[in-house]
Amino acid sequence: MKRQIPIFLVFVFGVFMVFQYFSPHEASEWIYKFLMDWIYIIGIFAMALGIWSLIHVSYDKIKHKRHDWGYSVVTLAALFTMMFFGITGFNENGEWGFYFMTQEGLTNPMFRNFFNHILVPIETTMFSLLAFFIASAAYRAFRARNVLATMLLVSALIVMLRFNPYFGDTFGFYMNKTAAWLLNVPNMAAKRAILIGIGLGMVGTALKVILGIERGYMGKG
């Protein structure tokens, strides 16, 4: 029974989702929107579980003084600090207070400063690491070890150098044309082949889930 009820629910709602794709009727749309709203409701409850999980894991690390437990102290301190400033602030009359249901906390100067001057620069730094990782990955990928790798190297050079202004009109024109062909013909063909496979795989997996063949999401893979 513990397994049958979820499988039945998945079947019913899965079949409805297939039906609503083919039915634009107002009633079908209303039910679809109603079900989608449940994702937000479940998400909010799950977020509470998620935050509890983070606190529990970090606290456990600090309590047992596990390796690099100091990072967990920083995590918890940052979490509670942002939480505190996020729910406190000044209202229209300049009165300070706790605001759980309204947005005063989001305008709290401390909350905004922490967000704009700590979180955003850290995020930007993480993202900018990508540039260096692309360089190291490209170095590994573009080594001419065999014929195919050499073809990849030459193609990549053409695509990367196509905008070089020092090539002149004639050479630049042919570089551009070759790069466009590489991107629009072999590259696009490979991409579309993968996308068709993905599409079929998605439909196949969705049908397997609806029919109860695929039960990995319940721990019965």
Binding site: F22, L54, E123, M126, F133, A141, V203, G204, L207, V209
Partner: protein
């Protein structure tokens, strides 16, 4: 001298302003003398097809005065009423040169643009000149009603494709049930999972499983749950450590259940701990920073990336490579595949991610569905070749069969 210049300037400005006033008056008098334009003709109003209702389309033949050289019609104003006798309400306008107006209403009854379904409506289109008072109304069209459609006729090809694919799947599942041997091409990435878990056990290091940035309703995340269940079962049997940091709290909750069930199936429920699967954050790069930290501190023997990945794919995979872990990745995000191929030891490309669960399980039901996918792919290849031939020879009747409307 300076004062004389200022006085002259003032006089000049006053004189210019006076002339401008005279010009405007002249233009106004011209506006009053515009002849009323000819009305539009052939006004038709019909229900918008394949929609949720509350929408009507108006089409007409433009006024003869809405043409090159004449241009006396500046725009068309659309009026609607629930009675042919009015009152008519202006619901919108289109510039001259247009001969269609989509009257798309809002679903909420309180909204001004609400169009009631199954109600008689009457329309009129006015050809309006530059002087809004000089206009000519068309004949009233009606009654016309908008309807909500139960079936989207533009999606018939998709329905047929799903039915054929579903039928193929049912057939191969029944064939597999009868005990027929179904061959599945070996997937190097999945075959490597066993070795990777063995390696982790020998080294006494953990296995890091990343479910990606997808939410629990994404097919790639669902496929990842299935692979996680297999990996967790083997990890439980080998008594190795498993770390599953999650990006989404719903994914975390499901993943906890998946891992718990796998430990139970493996006969080691006591070895399961809720802290194996934990939530970090729903902030993309904060998540990456945390996972990279885990990689560098815990030095996992194996990193498994399965699911939906975006810009973080290369940052994660390169850090894993620096940490010296064996890396197995799988995603259906085409843009991230090259990064995984470069930085990981094994990569499941696109649909291989979905095939992995069938390959791991070796259950007849799963293998049957995989076989159906292969036949569907063969059908797509044949149809693509036929489509290329038809398109080159201009056989639009064939290509139109596959046209899907939004």
């Amino acid at each position: 001298m300076r004062y004389i210049f200022v006085i002259f300037s003032l006089v000049f400005l006053t004189f210019s302003a006076g002339l401008a006033q005279v010009d405007t008056l002249g233009a106004d008098s011209t506006l009053l003398n515009i002849a009323p334009p000819a009305p539009i003709s052939n006004l038709t109003v019909y229900d918008k097809a394949n929609d949720h209702g509350h929408a009507l389309i108006l089409e007409w033949k433009p006024s003869p005065d809405d043409a090159a050289g004449k241009n006396t019609v500046m725009m068309y104003e659309i009026y609607r009423s629930e009675s042919p006798d009015g009152p008519f309400e202006n619901i919108g306008s289109v510039p001259s040169g247009n001969s269609r107006y989509d009257n798309i209403g809002i679903l909420e009854k309180e909204a001004r643009d609400y169009i009631p379904d199954n109600t008689d409506l009457y329309y009129r289109v006015d050809a309006v000149t530059i002087n809004p008072e000089i206009r000519t109304s068309s004949e009233i069209f009606g009654p016309v009603r908008s309807y909500s459609n139960w079936f989207h006729r533009g999606r018939v090809p998709v329905l047929f494709a799903v039915l054929i694919f579903g039928g193929l799947m049912m057939y191969f599942v029944s064939v597999a049930r009868k005990g027929a041997e179904l061959y599945v091409r070996p997937l190097a990435g999945i075959a490597a999972v066993d070795d990777a878990i063995g390696r982790a056990t020998e080294m006494g290091r953990p296995i890091l499983y990343i479910l990606g940035l997808g939410t629990a309703d994404m097919i790639s995340t669902i496929a990842s749950f299935t692979i996680l269940s297999r990996v967790a079962k083997q990890v439980a049997e080998y008594q190795t450590q498993l770390i599953v940091p999650c990006y989404d709290p719903i994914v975390m909750t499901v993943a906890q259940e998946v891992v718990k069930s796998s430990y139970l199936d493996a006969g080691h429920p006591d070895a399961y701990n809720d802290d194996m699967v934990f939530y970090i954050t729903t902030n993309q790069f904060a998540y990456v920073a945390a996972v990279n930290g885990i990689m560098m501190r815990e030095l996992p023997a194996t990193n498994v990336y399965m699911g939906k990945f975006y810009a973080e794919s290369l940052i994660l995979a390169e850090t894993g490579a620096v940490a010296g872990s064996i890396q197995i990745a799988g995603t259906d995000e085409v843009g991230q595949l090259p990064f995984f191929i470069v930085a990981c030891d094994y990569t499941l490309i696109g649909e291989e991610l979905y095939a992995a669960s069938a390959y791991l399980g070796r259950e007849p039901l799963m293998l049957g569905s995989l076989k159906a996918q292969d036949y569907a792919k063969a059908a797509v290849i044949i149809l693509s070749i036929l489509g290329i031939i038809a398109a080159n020879f201009g056989w639009t009747a064939f290509t139109n069969i596959f046209k899907v409307l939004d």
